[in-house]
Amino acid sequence: MLLNVNGINKTYHSGDVDFQALYDINLDIEKGEFTALCGPSGSGKTTLLNIIGCLDSADSGELVLDGISLTDKTSDELADLRRDYFGFIFQTYNLIPVLTVYENVELPLKLLKKHSPDETSTMVFETLKKVGLEGLDKRRPLELSGGQQQRVSIARALVKNPKMVLADEPTANLDTKTGETIVDLMKDMNEKEGVTFVFSTHDSLIMDHAKKTINLRDGKIAN
């Protein structure tokens, strides 16, 4: 078991208004899964992904990642867990615009501080090759198409061989064809490299590619 989610609840507060985004969520993610979190906008997909990825905290319940309970972790400990365990892919790519493609992909490895400069370089170029971005390493994100930017984002998530990749609506900003290519790429990485993927989507075409689907409705698991 890679991740165990036990009775997670999350409420957002905005002034006097409270909005409960998640109700008693329980789920398990096994190593090598290719799981889709499905549901319409506002169903709690992003909130759940953020809590799984240690970017947000739950009001109650427990998360156990690779046997480690995430309850009461400090800000630095959570940062280290994100660095060591997760790769993130975002709907709007979230590449650092002042860095080149190479530097964006290199950044997670530099934060890990485990590899020599030569190893880092090899890993970056190999990953760029896998996602089909050879020769574009010196470009800045804004010089690339949406599909290419999402590939850079995938390369950045995969370069450090994370235990789990969390992708929030990875195809929402792409046209159908490019979106399918991106999902194929993720699936390919899952099958060939055994990378665990959990991604949110409300696109039925993309959902079809998932090996496991979790449906969220109004903050509750529907299936």
Partner: protein
Amino acid sequence: MNNNLLLAVRNLLRYKRRTILTFLVLSFGVAMYVFQISFLKGFTDKSLENMINFETGHAKIRSLTYDDNEPYAVKNIITNSSVIKSVLKKKKYVKGYTERLMFIGELDNSTDSVPCIAVGIDIKTDKNVFSLTQFISKGSIKTNGAVIGYKLAEDLKVGVGDSLYLTFRTEAGMIDSVSLEITGLINSSDPKANTSNIYMNIDIARKILRTNGVTDIAFKVADYMEIDSYIMALKKSLAGYSFWSWKKLGDHMLALSKSKSMGNYFFVIFLTIIAVVGVINTMLMSVFEKKKEIGTLKALGMRDKDIKRIFLIEGSLIGGLGSLIGIIAGSLITWYFVENGLDLVSMMGDIGKNVGFRVMGVVKARWSPSSIVMAFVMSILVTTLASFYPAKKAVKLDASECLRTIQ
């Protein structure tokens, strides 16, 4: 390159116009500071040089009863100066000495009269301590007659060869008056020598004052900054006299310089506030604009202290580069005035006298390396400190909220 430094540098380059504007505010402040400090140093140093070279030497030996409130009183006259001179002669660190007889008087050209300070000088030894004789532009100081400053001559409408009446009190307190021929004119950088003093051979001064004494014995030493320790040593041999170092005699000038420096510091503080507000504003805008990137960096596992460091480095780079540009600009302006100086006379007449500094003519700026280093260090320190608040704000941002930001 280190992640934090790379991101900080690239962020600064991203909004070039804003970065340049922030640089310029800081650079202007630093440039003005460097220039003002150099000019003030020029004024202060030149004033002290004039005082030392025309009036005090490195120190003066006076009567033990010398009263600063009555500098020209009869009781100040020393009658046995030969004792003092013989002691000074034996000391290796004394590089030269001379005696002077100073008294107050009034100069009269038959139409107008002006108060003046009459100075009897030893023509042979005066140059061992003072520069006065180098600045006699017309004529010379002779055994008879007197020399006056060119400005005083202009005011009294006299020239070389003309005569003036000098009225004074003798040692016995009697009012007397003598006619003195002007044998030379002084044109120096010292306003006092140019405008209010009359110099004559000490023998003439003694004769008209009917005294055998002197009022001052001035001397120069090997290292003028160490004058206090030399005086301590001399006091052992000359216990019956009072010693007046250039520091003591110039304390009013040093105080003036200090007060002008204070004014300068207020100006610098004002500019610093503008720079700090500019940096905080720039950095806060930067944090706001980079919310999504901050969220991404947090998602990638960057720790809060590293995110904070990026903004602190940005602030210190603004400070470092801004002050560097300021130092270069300020140094270029200063360099011009170090080389060419500022001609106060042609610009504003006797302003040197009016602003309290003992300067006249062309005043050159002087380099103040310590102030330049201080400006550089302070700029970096201030801008880095100013970046703390925006950096703290960046760290406090919630990662998931940052990632939700639409930018």
